[in-house]
């Protein structure tokens, strides 16, 4: 049987973290009373016009720079027309012809064979990043055969990140999206929490034989977590391979991922190929961005978005933070990945290192094995840890100064988890876990043990 080459391309929508919407002054907030965060423009009341939010532009530029894109100094807005109850205007304002950023790349890492010690770096090309409006929310009430519409989300700013189809499986898709999520959170351009709909991923999947043209692709939607993304992509690849090997064909359709059944199903309500009749947005002039060279002399600085300024203010991206952790503390690259993967863990680690004499290379073991596994077992975040960095540092100091042994330290840690407010020293004294260094005392203990186990001693002496 000839091998199959799966091809996966992702379209990611990230909600911009801003106070107000992309083209209007209504508030951006999750879970507010229905239709309370809606302006006349958002509801498409006649006579209203879009006014572009500066913060959204800056968020898109930051993201474009972080993803190594070329920023288009002149970009344009367009209308994309389709009918749906949660799109009151009958069109979405987007950037189809000339988006704000193009031709970037995203580097991410994968573990080979699930071994963290063997990590490989891969790259996926970013085709473009565009600014566009989010739609409202439809709540389907099948019992009463109606849809309830809440426009709170209508008009919220989105950055659509379009990737080239460079990915080949669920694991790569998950790793790439995870890294993008970390980047967005580091930049602050989006909080990128998938569970709150701030990061939405659609996957385009197809398979073909090496050397042949690409196969028909399907679009997979309704993916609500990074784990489900990997499963949905892998399921769809398998489904297509099986279909084709059984002599069937793949339809160019949109499918939804059913997380309970772990499979993709055709989506109803998709009327064939859509013709969006793109046209320039007549109410918005081109968006012009500046840099140090092109900055006009007398312009109101509130009306200027300066790419060079934004570039200077970019924080350290995750890849840079990891490299710094490895260099500064001598930990392994895979350690730095785990540290950045858990919110607050890198900070916790650095705080412990600051407060203890134990070498970072030893501290990391306590962080990644003992602390992290406990947190995971009890579904706690680092912020919710009953053991603070100070307490852990105190404990590690006792170990470093050889006042206790390593097994004893683990026992103390178990007590610390209870969060009863005792210090490590207090627990050591309470449980008599101190290491004994006095020769005479040790002899007495050994003698007592031997005296108490006469039979065993005889067996040992006899050989």
């Amino acid at each position: 049987l000839a091998p199959w080459v799966p091809v996966v391309g992702l379209e990611i929508h990230a909600q911009i973290s801003s106070n107000s919407k992309l083209f209007s002054g209504s508030q951006v907030q999750f879970a507010a009373p229905p239709n309370s965060l809606v302006s006349f423009f958002d509801a498409s009341v006649p006579g209203t016009l879009p006014v572009l939010n500066r913060r959204c532009v800056e968020a898109a530029v930051m993201t474009g720079l972080a993803l190594n894109c070329s920023i288009n100094k002149k970009s344009l807005f367009d209308r994309k027309h389709y009918f749906y109850a949660d799109l009151p205007a009958g069109y979405q304002i987007t950037q189809q012809r000339v988006p704000i950023a193009v031709n970037g790349s995203l580097s991410y890492s994968l573990c080979i064979d699930n071994k963290m010690s063997q990590m490989v770096t891969k790259t996926v090309r970013i085709k473009q990043i565009q600014l566009e409006q989010d739609s409202g929310k439809s709540l389907h009430d099948d019992t009463r055969s109606q849809t309830l519409v809440d426009l709170n989300r209508a008009g919220v700013g989105l950055m659509e990140v379009v990737m080239e189809p460079d990915l080949c499986c669920g694991e790569e898709a998950a790793a790439a999206v995870r890294e993008l999520q970390l980047i967005l959170q580091t930049l602050g351009s989006s909080q990128a929490v998938m569970a709150e709909g701030q990061l939405r991923v659609d996957a385009n999947v197809s398979v073909h034989h090496p050397g042949e043209t690409y196969g028909v692709r399907t679009e997979v939607k309704n993916i609500n977590s990074i784990r489900f993304l990997a499963r949905a992509v892998d399921y769809e690849i398998q489904r297509q391979i099986e279909e084709l090997e059984n002599g069937g064909t793949i339809l160019n359709e949109t499918r939804a991922f059913d997380s309970k059944l772990g499979c993709t199903v055709p989506m109803r309500d998709k009327e064939g190929k859509q013709d969006y009749r793109f046209m320039p947005e007549p109410n918005l002039p081109p968006l012009i961005l500046y840099d140090e060279k092109s900055l006009p002399a007398n312009m109101n600085h509130q009306q200027v978005v300066n790419i060079d300024c934004i570039r200077e203010r970019l924080p350290d991206l995750p890849s840079v933070k990891r490299a710094k952790l490895v260099e500064r503390y001598g930990i392994l690259p895979e350690h730095s990945f785990t540290l950045l993967n858990e919110d607050g863990l890198a900070e916790f680690f650095e705080n412990v290192v600051k407060q203890t004499q134990m070498k970072p290379k030893k501290v990391i073991g306590w962080i990644l094995k003992d602390l992290l596994s406990y947190l995971k077992q009890h579904s706690l975040t680092v912020k919710e840890s009953p053991v603070s960095s100070l307490l852990l540092a105190d404990l590690l100091n006792l170990l470093e100064t050889k006042e206790i042994s390593s097994p004893a330290a683990k026992q103390v840690l178990v007590e610390l988890w209870k969060g009863e407010g005792k210090t490590p020293l207090e627990i050591v004294k309470e449980k008599k876990l101190e290491l004994i260094e006095d020769q005479k005392e040790l002899e007495e203990i050994c003698q007592a043990v031997i005296d108490g186990q006469e039979n065993e001693v005889i067996m040992v002496v006899l050989g």
């Binding site: 107000s20 239709n35 302006s39 509801a43 749906y84 389907h140």
Partner: protein, 108 residues
Amino acid sequence: QTVTVEMLDHLEHLALVDFRDSEGVERLQKAIQFADQLHEVNTDGVEPMDSVLEDRCLYLREDDVTEGNCMKELLKNAREKVEEYFVAPPGNIPLPKLEERDTFLQGF
């Protein structure tokens, strides 16, 4: 005939217009002819203009919350509502296919 029945049917689906009768179709044809006159102009080496606003400055607004909180007023426009939600049919109701519609286009 510059317009085909397929194109007219497609437009009726996309824009929910109703060409209604031959006069409607003729008006469309005349509009296309009118716009086609643009092809008589030599535009070699000229950048297309897609908006008369092209040399205007796109005003940027500060990221402040200045609107919203007018749910009652907005819902006044709703024919049907449930609590504070707008009510819509369960899904898009597509225009029936050409053969199934009572339209003048069938004899076109």
